[in-house]
Amino acid sequence: MTTGMRKMAVALLSAVVRHAPPGSRAWSRAMLGEMECIPTDWAALRWAFGSTSAIFRYSLEHAWRDERSNHSTDGLLKAVGKLLGGLTLAVAFCVGVLAACILSITRLSTFLVPEWHLAQMPWVGCVSVLGMPETIFFIVAALLWRKRKIVSAGILACAVTLATHFFLYVSAHG
C-alpha cells in the first residue's frame, strides 16, 4: 500500500524529473527509479530529499561552469562590477532612508510640533525605525524591479536584514 509519505516522496522526485535541466534529467529519473526498492516510507522521503539536493547542486554547478565558459573575463568583471555597483547603491539608499525616517520623526517633530512630544512615545521608535523605512523600501523595490533588478533586490535584502535585526533586538531587549 502506498502511504501519503511515500506519495509525497514520489511527487517530489517526479517534480524534480520534470523541472531538472536536460543535463541532469537522466540522473533524476535514475533516483526516482530507485524509490520502488526502498523499504520504509521515511527512508523513501529521505532519499527524495537527498536526491533533490544532489540534483539542485549539480545543476547549479553546471550552470555556473557554463556561464563561466560562455563569458570572457572582461564580461565576468563587468557583471561583477554591475552587481557590486547595484548593491552599493541599494545599501546607500537604504541607509539614507533609514536616517531620514529617524531624523524626521524624532528630531524634526521636536522642532515643528514640540507640544506633541513625539520623541518620547514608545511607538514612534517602531514607526521611524521599522514601519516607515520598510514601507518605502518595498514601494521603491517594487517600482525598480523591472528596470533595475539588482538595486531592487539589494533594497529588499536590506529590508529583510533591517526587519530581522529589529525583531531580534526587540526579543533580546524587550
Binding site: A30, C37, P39, A54
Partner: protein
C-alpha cells in the same frame, strides 16, 4: 579530480566486483552514504568518464532503474586511488535494508 573519503569508499565498492552492474540504492546501502552524498559522487565520476551507466530493462508498470559500473579508465583510476591513505572507518549504513 578531488578524491574524498566517500569517493574512495564508493570506488572500493565498485572494485570489489568490477564487472558487476550495481544499482544506486545498493551502493548507498553498501557504503552507508545517503543519496545526497552518493549521487554527486556518481555524477562526478560519470562526468570524468570513470563510471558508465545503463538502464535496466524493466517490467511494464515499474520505472526503469539505472545501473553503474566502472569504465576501464575508472578501474585503473580506482586501483590507483581507492586504497590511498585517508580511508578511515566505513561509514554506518544510512538506510535500512532493501527489498529483495
Amino acid at each position: 579530480m578531488r578524491i574524498s573519503r566517500q569517493t574512495r569508499h564508493v570506488l572500493r565498492i565498485f572494485l570489489d566486483a568490477p564487472k558487476t552492474w550495481r544499482y544506486g540504492y545498493d551502493v548507498s546501502q553498501e557504503t552507508g552514504l545517503k543519496s545526497g552524498t552518493l549521487y554527486p559522487i556518481l555524477m562526478r565520476l560519470a562526468d570524468h568518464e570513470l563510471l558508465e551507466a545503463t538502464w535496466e530493462n524493466s517490467t511494464p508498470g515499474t520505472p526503469p532503474r539505472h545501473l553503474y559500473r566502472l569504465t576501464p579508465a575508472g578501474l585503473s583510476f580506482a586501483r590507483e586511488h581507492a586504497l590511498e591513505s585517508g580511508t578511515g572507518s566505513r561509514p554506518r549504513p544510512a538506510l535500512s535494508g532493501a527489498k529483495s
